[in-house]
């Protein structure tokens, strides 16, 4: 009985925690969210956001109705080899410190998009945290900046 009661209470808390319109904002702040426009037929896409948890938290999951599912990933380019990995434990959000999910690094990977990820569109997404209530976002789809526009890793040619 007890675990059941607890589960019920927990799911009730979760329901209350869902930020319906006008509800108090989630303690985790999201800024600069965007998804990378993907070619037709692309079986996946990358989304990025900067998260700040004032009291410390952990991003533990991401849900989207726009794709089969979504995962939290990291990427590494050591030695010129692209390695991507799922982060099953999510991403730690130290108190008050903005954590940037960005190209070449941490990202949200949406797998099996139901519609093409075309610039100008929007991906509805819910971020789940260990403590804070889920955060619903309407993430705009943009063309990725060209690699030339990102800071050069080698400085300017003199």
């Amino acid at each position: 009985m007890r675990p059941k009661t607890f589960a019920l209470a927990a799911s009730a808390a979760l329901l209350i925690g869902l930020p319906a319109a006008g509800a108090s904002p989630s303690p985790v702040a999201a800024a600069d969210a965007w998804c990378r426009a993907a070619p037709p037929g692309a079986p996946s896409g990358g989304c990025y956001v900067t998260l700040t948890a004032p009291t410390g938290d952990r991003l533990v999951g991401v849900d989207t109705a726009a794709a089969d599912h979504a995962e939290i990933h990291t990427m590494d380019m050591t030695g010129g080899v692209m390695r991507m990995r799922r982060l099953p434990d999510g991403i730690a959000l130290p108190a008050g410190k903005p954590v940037a999910l960005k190209p070449g690094s941490l990202h949200l990977m949406i797998i099996g998009p139901k519609r093409q990820l075309t610039a100008g569109g929007v991906v509805p997404m819910t971020l789940r945290f260990a403590k804070a209530p889920p955060l619903r976002l309407q993430v705009p789809i943009r063309m990725a900046p060209s690699p030339a526009a990102s800071p050069a890793h080698h400085g300017d040619h003199q």
Binding site: P40, G41, A42, P43, G80, M82, A144, S146, P147, Q158
Partner: protein, 194 residues
């Protein structure tokens, strides 16, 4: 890989490069061991057979990736699309080839669909698990299929674009994230010297 990197670093330290404007040595240290490039037998986006001979007569920019790749591959393809546009008529004197390291998912149809968003002159090659492995080996491309927790898999892979001359001989790599102007400069040099 480690040994290659070490050799590259040693060469760089010994002043083998001409200045600080080169993120990588002009000549791969491996060129002295066994050459990058060689015979391959793949299929294009129409399912037609292609070999290393299909590229001869024009210099080539060749890179390996997969359509499941959310960032590096579309970025490289976008960079190559921008470069081909900037090259103007000279772009006709260059092969640009995207080779899949994920032939199980990247069928010719999938490659064709994926490439519709980029410059139509970019060719897509795929094959069977074995023929792709042989091509990657010939070009000394590292790739590894890695299962993902919860199902599916990703493919670790080398991200550089290899430049080959019109005889199919390796010239130099372009590292991922190289500034656009530098990419253009290298491609122009490759075309004019061929």
């Amino acid at each position: 890989m480690k040994r290659l990197l070490l050799t590259a670093l040693l060469l760089a330290a010994a002043g083998a490069t001409s200045g600080c404007d080169r993120p990588e040595p002009a000549k791969s240290p491996s060129a002295t061991a066994s050459p990058i490039g060689g015979p391959f037998s793949l299929i294009d986006t129409a399912g037609r057979p292609v070999t290393e001979k299909s590229l001869l007569g024009k210099p080539s920019a060749m890179f390996f990736g997969f359509t499941y790749c959310p960032e590096v591959c579309p970025t490289t393809l976008a960079e190559m699309t921008a470069a081909l546009k900037a090259l103007g008529p000279d772009a006709e004197r260059l092969n640009v080839v995207f080779v899949s390291v994920d032939p199980e998912r990247d069928t010719p149809e999938q490659m064709k669909l994926y490439l519709t968003n980029f410059d139509p002159r970019i060719q897509g090659y795929t094959g069977t698990v074995d023929t792709v492995a042989a091509a990657a080996k010939a070009y000394r491309v590292y790739y590894k299929k890695v299962p993902m927790e919860g199902g599916g898999y990703t493919v670790d892979h080398s991200s550089a674009v290899y430049l080959l001359d019109k005889r199919g001989e390796f010239v130099e790599p372009l590292s991922y994230g190289m500034p656009h102007d530098m990419v253009l400069e290298r491609l122009r040099k490759l075309i004019s010297s061929s």
